[in-house]
């Protein structure tokens, strides 16, 4: 096997020195009846070229070169090539969690920069080193709010990504943490009246998404006002992080849970992505996951270390803030590089391009059919209502090498034949015009 750095002579010598007759001696602790005496049923050992061929074939059985109008929690943005060039360096790719700070300053400093940028972008004071993704991050944010407030219930807007809501349900179901849902208005925003009704004295937190699942930007300040008046915490979940280039950060929130996939992370059929939690300094010690902090070495030189680990499972075990251990560090590093490339001006310009594309596209769709949720600002997604079933429309589009919007009938039957469209800087006018044309047929 070509990955194994041993010759038969090496193995023989080692066995000899250990004092074993054969390698089987070392597996003697396994009761004989449980030893596997056959080959595993996995494909035979392949040459590298065969592996390449195998995955080429799989890849060619997937859409490639299609115009993509799907968002719904996973966004197609251009990925500068510098990202992969840098994270492919073995020093980033093949290192472990930076437990030994003196030989892990590269990862530590990069994550410290990540934390800083996330704070800067979200308007929060502290950010962690990443969560698995936006959905689990949202769930962990709820558990964090429970720890902070001591209250034991939550309200979640119905306009939050349906799969995020499912994950929150899974995480909280055995914690005695009932979740109630809050309705949305005609303009796509949270129904404040309904929200007011739903919040009780037991409500630890209210979780909304902005831009929400329909692409609508919430009035975070207004929601925060209401939530805080009721003594609960506001969690804002952000699925399309690129919006922060032009959308006001949710500074009024207590916790921000963000999916950073838009920051240079490939769609990759849904992962790996990286979530991140950001919060106020006062809640710092309740945040789950790793934190990198600045410190000094014996000579007074600046350096970075993992810190506040008494929150974590390896120290605190069943009393930890979370069970998370391995996180998404390399993805956070990708995001850091992406954010460095676009930076202060580029993120704004890029977000403006997204806005322009979606505005143009929704305008064109509006000429032919109905675009829902007028009256509140949107970013790069919008909901189109059609006569035909969205699945049928998408079949039609697929034949023209276009992947249409995300059908909403299943998760939001109340919207009828509707689907969620997304346009980014990668959707050309030509693509948009063709899609509008095809949908309108």
């Amino acid at each position: 096997m070509r990955y194994l750095p041993k010759s038969p002579a090496d193995r023989a010598q080692m066995l000899r020195e250990i004092g074993c007759k054969s390698i089987d001696d070392l597996f003697a602790p396994i009761p004989a009846e449980y030893r596997l005496n056959r080959d595993l049923k996995v494909p035979r050992q392949m040459a590298e070229s065969e592996i390449i061929d195998y995955f080429h074939e799989q890849a060619s059985n997937n859409a490639a070169g299609y115009a993509l109008f799907l968002g719904a929690g996973a966004y197609h943005h251009y990925r500068p090539v510098v990202i992969d060039a840098m994270i492919s360096r073995g020093e980033f790719l093949t290192s472990y969690t930076p437990y030994q700070a003196e030989i892990a300053q590269g990862t530590l400093q990069a994550i410290f920069e990540f934390q800083t940028m996330i704070c800067e972008l979200t308007g929060m004071e502290v950010a962690n080193a990443s969560m698995y993704d936006g959905s689990t991050g949202a769930a962990e944010a709820m558990l964090m709010a429970v720890r902070i407030t001591g209250r034991k219930a939550a309200v979640v807007a119905r306009s939050v990504h349906p799969e995020y809501r499912e994950v929150m349900h899974t995480y909280t179901q055995h914690q005695g943490l009932p979740i109630t849902e809050c309705a949305y208005l005609e303009n796509g925003r949270v129904d404040m009246a309904d929200l007011e009704k739903k919040i009780t004295d037991d409500t630890a937190c209210v979780l909304i998404q902005s831009p929400n699942f329909f692409g609508t930007i919430e009035d975070v300040a207004a929601v925060a006002d209401l939530v805080h008046k009721k003594g609960a915490l506001l969690i804002v979940s952000i699925a399309e992080a690129l919006s922060l280039g032009i959308v006001k950060p949710p500074v009024e929130a207590d916790i921000v849970s963000m999916e950073t996939q838009s920051y240079g992370v490939p769609l990759g059929y849904g992962g790996p992505y990286a979530g991140v939690l950001a919060t106020k300094e006062k809640f710092m010690r309740q945040i789950p996951g790793r934190l990198v902090g600045e410190t000094k070495d014996k000579d007074g030189k600046r350096g970075f270390v993992l810190t506040l680990s008494t929150r974590e499972q390896h120290i605190r075990r069943e009393k930890a803030t979370s069970n998370i251990c391995t996180n998404q560090a390399l993805i956070a590093t990708m995001a850091t590089i992406y954010l460095t490339i676009y930076g202060r001006e580029g993120l704004k310009e890029l977000a403006q391009q997204n806005l322009a594309k979606a505005t143009y596209a929704s305008g064109e769709f509006a000429k032919k059919g109905k675009v829902l949720f007028a009256g509140a600002p949107r970013f790069n997604e919008f909901v189109v209502q059609t006569k035909d079933d969205p699945q049928a429309i998408n079949k039609r589009l697929l034949e023209k090498k276009m992947i249409g919007g995300f059908p909403l009938n299943w998760h939001y039957p109340e919207l009828g034949n509707a689907s969620l469209w997304c346009c980014t800087e990668l959707n050309s006018k030509e693509q948009i015009d063709a899609a509008v044309q095809a949908v309108g047929q």
């Binding site: 070392l26 849904g270 992962g271 930076g343």
Partner: protein, 497 residues
């Protein structure tokens, strides 16, 4: 400082680099956008009060500076690609480059999770094939690839147990966890609403079967067991353990972090495990990336299958694949979409590169390496448990501590010798643990260098303990003050006022 004995490393000139924010200056650009082909939109008008003012101190730098910044940073890291990384319990093995290449094929890397199934068959086939491989490797009946890491898999597995027991009428209250367990085990049990009950190891470093029998009752949902356990010891009475649990209606959860000791040699499904997770970022070689991403598939027996997170991948009669969302008994989703898919691709590539013979040889080499180290260092370092080692060996600093040299000091001194340290102070059952997992990826030459280094440090601890206690001496930063970091945390950079 006497460094004549250091054979593996030398000091070399290395670039300094500040924080990226310290390089920023208005007007520098690392990006350029393609011209906009639709009408511009005034975002302030469009967004009104939701419009952002500015992006504060986000950096403004050029591409050249970005390349230098991250390249320089990278040179400060140790990595598998540079040398042995014997972190016990972490299985830091070779991360093949071909895995990175295939994971980036546009048809896979650019696939949207919601694109229609008819244009996603290749992506799904990868998941299905990997699932089938993992099922035969574990000897289990059903699997989900959704969990994003080991701890996430643990949660999924315990939720399966909970749902199953609930379906039988009572989810029960407690989970038994050996004192040697990884911290994620108790943390997971807690998240799932279970109380944790500690299970003591016996003098051979294994589960005390009679204690287990005594502790097991109808309040106990099951046991979370790592096998080989965190001492690197195979639980030889595993069949009895399973029996005791099953007799009282409980279930056996296996933390599969140490599967690298077992693949192709024995199967948890055969020795009584009901549900387990795998760490693709350990056993199946997906890169750790400085802390993640990982992937923690959960495999289970038939009885638990109805409760798996949804969707579940299914093969239709016509050979096409689909996601089945119609799973009324499912514990629900543990993550959006289908998991850390990119890791599935890599893990399958690893499996294909090995085949049945390669996987078996891999396991054998991993166990051989650990036992070779054990043999060579026994005597120099205290071996608290004498039971046979599988893929890792746990010593302690018992001898060195007499000179005030602790496991953490020895670890830091290993850095000077050109190694990444072993795992320090875990498992907790060993005072001053020195937990070494070489994996199969180390050559005899590299093992001998480690052994030499460890012996040399043992001598230094004897003759010049201060040298060890103040290590490392050859790194660009000296020992960092973790206490100060935690006392007054500085968790982000701020512009000078």
């Amino acid at each position: 400082m006497s460094n004549q004995d250091i054979k593996k490393a030398t000091r070399h000139v290395n670039q300094n680099e500040g924080l990226i924010f310290e390089r920023s200056s208005p007007g520098k650009k690392g990006y350029r956008l393609a011209p906009l082909d639709v009408p511009e939109v005034d975002y302030k008008a469009a967004l009104g009060s939701a419009a952002r003012e500015d992006l504060g101190s986000m950096p403004e730098v050029s591409e050249m500076e970005i390349i230098r910044h991250f390249t320089r940073l990278s040179t400060w890291n140790y990595a598998i690609d540079l040398g042995m990384y014997p972190l016990g319990s972490c299985t830091m093995k070779y991360n093949a480059r071909v895995n990175e290449v295939v994971a980036r094929f546009p048809g896979l890397a650019n696939a949207h999770p919601y694109q229609p199934a008819e244009v996603s068959q290749g992506a799904m086939r990868v998941m299905k094939t990997l699932s089938d491989c993992l099922l035969d490797i574990t000897g289990m009946d059903a699997i989900t690839l959704q969990p994003a890491a080991g701890a996430h898999g643990e949660m999924t597995g315990i939720l399966l147990m909970h749902a199953y027991l609930q379906s039988k009428g009572n989810p029960r209250k407690k989970i038994l966890i050996p004192d040697s367990a990884h911290g994620t085990n108790p943390a997971t049990a807690a998240i799932c609403g279970y109380a944790v009950e500690n299970l003591k190891s016996n003098s051979r470093g294994m589960v005390d079967v009679s204690a287990l029998a005594a502790q097991m009752n109808e309040d106990v949902a099951g046991l979370m067991l790592t096998n080989p356990n965190t001492l690197g010891i195979f639980e030889q009475e595993i069949h009895k353990i399973a029996e005791i649990l099953h007799e009282k209606g409980g279930l056996l959860y296996m933390d599969g972090a140490n599967m690298n000791a077992l693949v192709g040699k024995t199967r948890p499904g055969d020795f009584g495990v009901d549900v387990m997770h795998l760490n693709l970022h350990k056993t199946f070689s997906t890169p750790h990336g400085g802390g993640g991403p990982g992937s923690g598939p959960v495999a289970c027996k038939k009885i638990l299958e109805p409760f798996l997170p949804k969707p579940v991948i299914v093969e239709r009669a016509d050979g096409t694949l689909a996601f089945d969302y119609d799973r009324p008994k499912s514990v629900g989703r543990v993550r959006m979409f289908y998991g850390n898919y990119g890791m599935h691709v890599r893990a399958l590539a690893y499996t294909l590169a090995n085949g049945p013979d390669g996987l078996r040889q891999t396991t054998e080499d991993a166990v051989l390496n650990a036992n070779y180290i054990r043999k060579k260092l026994e005597g120099d370092y205290e071996l608290p448990y004498k039971s046979p080692s599988m893929h890792e060996v746990v010593f302690s600093d018992g001898i060195q501590e007499q000179k005030g040299v602790k496991t953490g000091d020895i670890a830091k001194r290993l850095i000077d010798y050109g190694f990444h340290p072993y795992t320090v102070s875990f498992p907790l059952v060993v005072h001053g643990a020195i937990m070494i997992e070489p994996t199969e990826s180390e050559s005899l030459e590299e093992l001998d260098l480690l052994i030499d280094a460890m012996k040399s440090i043992a001598r230094e601890a004897e003759e010049d303990p201060e040298l060890v206690k103040t290590a490392p001496h050859t790194t660009r930063v000296k020992r960092l003050d973790e206490t100060a970091a935690a006392r007054k945390p500085i968790l982000r950079w701020k512009p000078a006022k």
